[in-house]
Symmetry: C2
Amino acid sequence: MITVIGSLAGLLTTACWLPQVLRCLQRRSARDFSWVYLVALGLGVLAWVLYGIAREDPVIITTNAITLVLISVLVSVKLRTELGKPLVSASE
Amino acid sequence: MITVIGSLAGLLTTACWLPQVLRCLQRRSARDFSWVYLVALGLGVLAWVLYGIAREDPVIITTNAITLVLISVLVSVKLRTELGKPLVSASE
């Protein structure tokens, strides 16, 4: 039962990231997110992964690993757009 | 050491909420957040609090309880502004 609660928590809080990441990919811009925000959040979520490993808690590890992947999508879009390399979508 | 990692994780991921909450209070508007987002996130964070209680993990409980307070500030601003009651700031 505890794992179900944790998985539900993880699912909801991670799913909340999807609209923002999809919008960022559609717009090909991550200007809504400052570097300070992305770096602080990335380090925080990475620390949660380490905490989950230290606690041997797969719920915390999985949730935050997925969130870390979503944040790295935002970082890569931001890097590419700010380094002037246009993001080429599959349709072009 | 594990608690330090968890506390750092909690501090960083919770602190990332502050700029958005402060901007919402300054603008007296929470239009950046949809109800679906706030409800899903609120339920998710609440589930993390329950998970922390079930795991008897003060780091998870504290972090998510603070985040829940910040989300409830967003909800209250959104409720008041959408119900037409202007938010009266201390200076007025």
